[in-house]
């Protein structure tokens, strides 16, 4: 089973590029930045907050 991100981390994490709050997708294990259209992966409960490792989001995924 996938390890979830510690809620303590979710309280302080933002998108490193735009500093906007993130949406947590527990199913895909991703932290989503709508402003940057980037999805930061979570591996074993560890958020990977690197711009180079983030997945580019489709327009349809972005919540405005």
């Amino acid at each position: 089973m996938n390890q979830l991100v510690d809620p303590k981390l979710l309280e302080i994490l933002v998108c490193p590029l735009t500093k906007v709050p993130l949406r947590y997708d527990g199913e895909k294990q991703e932290l989503l930045s709508d402003a940057a259209a980037l999805a930061y992966p979570v591996r074993d409960g560890i958020p990977i907050m690197l711009i180079d490792e983030a997945r580019k989001m489709d327009d349809s995924e972005i919540k405005k």
């Binding site: 510690d6 303590k8 981390l9 309280e11 302080i12 994490l13 933002v14 998108c15 490193p16 590029l17 500093k19 709050p21 591996r43 074993d44 560890i46 958020p47 990977i48 907050m49 690197l50 711009i51 180079d52």
Partner: protein, 286 residues
């Protein structure tokens, strides 16, 4: 995407070097342990609670038991980049950084982001390598390369010096900044062991302009010869200095001491000193 930023350090390579060093770190972690102790001592002098603590640098003990650790390998709680901190504005009470900031391409930017993430009256405690670090090695390699290749390539990092850091802390908006430093000198039997220790710390060369490709076969022998002539102790071991700069600064808050407005004094200095105030008078006659 960020081509306008200076690129002294190859940050992707840094992540690889750190991951490679992690399994055997316990053989090379003396500096990280020493700086952890120093930072913890400094923290103990402050009688305050820091509920949300974050540490940059996963190679050393967390500054508090509950500190969230951000690093470059999966041995921390978050993987992140000091140059793009993923922390919300005013979200952290205590942020410490242990031997990570010296590889930031944009050090002023990293400090500004640290200040941004701190709550008002939040504390930043940092330890970083300073300008005196490995000056013996830097000199020896340069002398050897000059005589073999007629020019030198960057093999030892350009470190910030203590004087510059005071200004940078102020520019980044920290209140009551304090910068001080200590030099630790370690001895090694030879250059090979020194290099192995640096790599073991995850501090191998990541300078973007580092010399790639073949190194002259005589380079390290010549550097070691020079090193042994100029920088040895009584046992002929090689001295290697590490300068650690300690940074302390607070996110501004109205409760902190503030300088008074010029001219707002209600007592004269002469009265305080018990002396008579004398006018300078016109030194120059019209």
């Amino acid at each position: 995407m960020h081509s306008d930023r200076p690129h002294i350090f190859d940050r992707a390579l840094l992540i690889q070097r750190r991951a490679k060093a992690l399994p055997a770190l316990h053989n090379h972690d003396f500096l990280y342990n020493w700086t952890s102790d120093q930072l913890q001592d400094r923290l103990q002098d402050i009688t305050r609670d820091f509920p949300v603590a974050v540490q940059l640098g996963e190679f050393s003990r967390p500054i508090t038991d509950t500190a969230i650790v951000m690093g470059h390998t999966d041995s921390g709680n978050i993987i992140g980049d000091e140059e793009f901190l993923p922390f919300a504005k005013d979200s952290i009470d205590l942020l410490s950084s242990n031997l990570t900031l010296h590889t930031a391409n944009d050090l002023p930017g990293a400090l500004i982001q640290i200040n941004y993430a701190l709550k008002p009256d939040g504390l930043f405690l940092g330890a970083m390598f300073g300008g005196e670090t490995l000056y013996e090695l830097r000199d020896s390699l340069m002398q050897a390369e000059l005589s073999l290749n007629g020019g030198a390539s960057p093999r030892v990092y350009p470190f910030a010096d203590k004087q510059q850091m005071g200004g940078l802390m102020q520019r980044a908006g920290f209140a009551l900044p304090v910068v001080d430093s200590d030099i630790i000198t370690v001895t090694y039997p030879d250059i090979k062991t020194l290099f192995a220790d640096l790599r073991g710390m995850g501090q191998g060369n990541i300078i973007t302009a580092r010399r790639k490709g073949l190194t002259h076969p005589r380079l390290f022998d010549m550097a070691e010869e020079y090193y042994r002539t100029h920088y040895t102790d009584n046992d002929r071991r090689l001295n290697a200095s590490f300068e650690i700069i300690f940074l302390t600064g607070w996110a501004p808050h109205e409760s902190q001491q503030q300088p008074l407005r010029p001219g707002s004094a209600d007592r004269s200095l002469a009265d305080e000193l018990g002396t008579k105030e004398m006018a300078i008078g016109d030194m120059v006659s019209p």
